[in-house]
Subunit: 329 residues, 2 copies
DNA sequence: TTGTAGGCGTTATCAT
DNA sequence: ATGATAACGCCTACAA
């Protein structure tokens, strides 16, 4: 006795004194139904509290009428915003949204494959799902959109711009007199981080400045705090260009702990523009996260409905947000 | 051509030279199968890349093997954390998770009812869904858990403690010499806020102090900022007890704008312990949000599997987190 | 305009 | 141990 009232289309038909086909047509508007029949059906539906079983509908149609989204986590505003944008658009397009977090899972491949068998299309967010698994999903002919992740096979791809904004950020810092810019984060761990680091390097190079090796750490405030704290014991960079806001927030804490003023003694920048960034005056780069989700839903819809068959690869622009932590106004 | 490979159990049976019943049994382990048959089936499955259609399985079993969760939004860490906790536990219990945001929707009732017909059980988070709709869901005999929301009918209920912690917070402020405590937020808009306000009043009353009317505003940083900014033009409370962290963050901004120091000139407290709270030194109250989601999933599982039939109403404890903004350590 | 019948892909019963 | 066969609830030619 799942969701549906338990009432079947047969009972409605019986009560209305018509055939099930008429009930179906009346409900879906999928064929001619006399005014009289329609009214009888509507009344029977009301009296019985009939709600069509999604299971029946889906099986008959061969469609789940549901899309999936796979993401690494929902803590931290980044992914959550994407999911919200996705849900908003998907539901407007009449599709339910199934979620699947890979957080702390050991069998990601199998999980995603199972998940894929419950949806008409899939969005995969981030790089927790390996290429092999994605290839398998594509082999099952499941429409797929990859988000914030390098391309695989024929899947659509949707990314946000990293390099250009990172370079702009670096040049902004340089123009304010900063010279020793140090990147905080691990380029090896994520393509996005790699590109941000590349942008920083490009900015430095353009001004004939050297670039030190990145200060590697995980993308959490605690990791950033620890790494930067250790760093500041022995070195004094002009600016800390952090891989994301959380790391930057950790860096701010570390600076405070060792008695350094921001931005007077050291500048700090992040990436994402999370809420905490606004409230700490953190200079950062804003990504259109909700848009990203919405665009993914729209792209997936095109793929599922067959309106488009050739893959598309989009890159959404990002925008540096200059605040207090990167220097005098 | 949804997720599943397109291969059916009949093709597998044919290839393996057995009946479909044997294939089903072999795959599910739901009955005796000879070693020999099992091997033939396994090989056929592998060769054909067979994956059972969830639609077929669900229809035959009369179960969606999926739970739903309805929430107001995912921006802001509160709901996102709950959803994560929920997904984690639900998926461990072998159930997929469907999400439904009510954000910016006009037809919430209809949306939720439609949503309900796609799941075996439902968690409803917050008070965006009205009692009538919930009653309708319950009438459809759908197992339901209400989260952070007053009880309705026979649904399970799971809440976090508000009043006691609010009172404790008030008494902490009072013990630090604060007298003119002002509540910021609108008790009329949410039961949680109402209880937090009640707790504040109780704390003041216990010390023979008067309690002013709440400074009403929406639960966003912008609303809090504006309301407090206006307030501080004409009044000088000792402490601002905010309905949640976002409002409190807005209050911090407002205080800074009018040149007031926190906590020297005015203390500020929030509620939720979001990331930004940690990084601004905001005194707040921590709620076990992920736990809340996990417990909801577990409760729902009991209801769905029929292990328990009588409703349960739990209240999870909360914990004041004393930081910088409420006064000298 | 309407109803009958077949099909969607499983599971599960029940003879064998 | 195994395989027909009947559900499951709906949609949709097709025939009337």
């Amino acid at each position: 006795m799942p969701a549906e009232s338990g009432v079947t289309i047969y009972q409605v038909a019986a009560r209305a004194g018509v055939g099930i086909a008429t009930v179906s047509r009346a409900l879906r508007g999928s064929g001619p139904v006399s005014r009289r029949s329609r009214e009888k059906v509507e009344r029977a539906v009301r009296e019985l509290g009939f709600r069509p079983s999604q299971l029946g509908v889906s099986l008959a149609r061969g469609k789940h009428a549901a899309n999936g989204i796979v993401f690494p986590d929902l803590s931290g505003p980044y992914y959550a915003e994407v999911v919200i944008g996705y849900e908003e658009t998907a539901s407007r397009l009449g599709r339910s949204v199934l979620i699947c977090s890979t957080r702390g899972r050991d069998d990601i491949g199998a999980t995603v494959l199972g998940f894929a068998s419950r949806v008409d299309g899939l969005v995969i967010l981030g790089h927790d799902v390996d290429d092999t698994t994605i290839a398998a999903v594509l082999a099952a002919r499941l429409p797929t959109v990859l988000l914030a992740r390098p391309a695989v096979g024929t899947a659509d791809t949707l990314n946000t711009e990293n390099r250009r904004s990172a370079k702009a950020l670096a040049e902004h810092l340089i123009s304010h007199g900063h010279r020793a810019l140090r990147f905080v984060g691990d380029p090896a761990r994520a393509p996005d981080v790699r590109e941000r680091y590349a942008g920083l390097r490009a900015g430095l190079r353009a001004h004939g400045l050297p670039c030190r090796a990145p200060l590697r750490c995980a993308l959490t405030d605690e990791a950033g705090r620890y790494a930067v704290h250790e760093l500041l014991k022995s070195e004094r960079p002009d600016a800390l260009v952090c891989a994301n806001d959380e790391v930057a927030l950790g860096a701010l804490q570390a600076a405070a702990e060792v008695g350094l003023r921001v931005p007077a003694d050291v500048a700090v920048t992040g990436w994402d523009d999370v809420m905490a960034a606004r409230h700490t005056g953190l200079t950062t780069v804003r990504q259109p996260m909700r848009d990203l989700g919405a665009k993914a839903a729209a792209a997936l819809d095109e793929l599922i409905s067959g309106v488009r068959i050739t893959p598309r690869h989009d890159v959404l622009p990002t925008e540096p947000i200059i605040r207090r932590t990167c220097g005098p106004h």
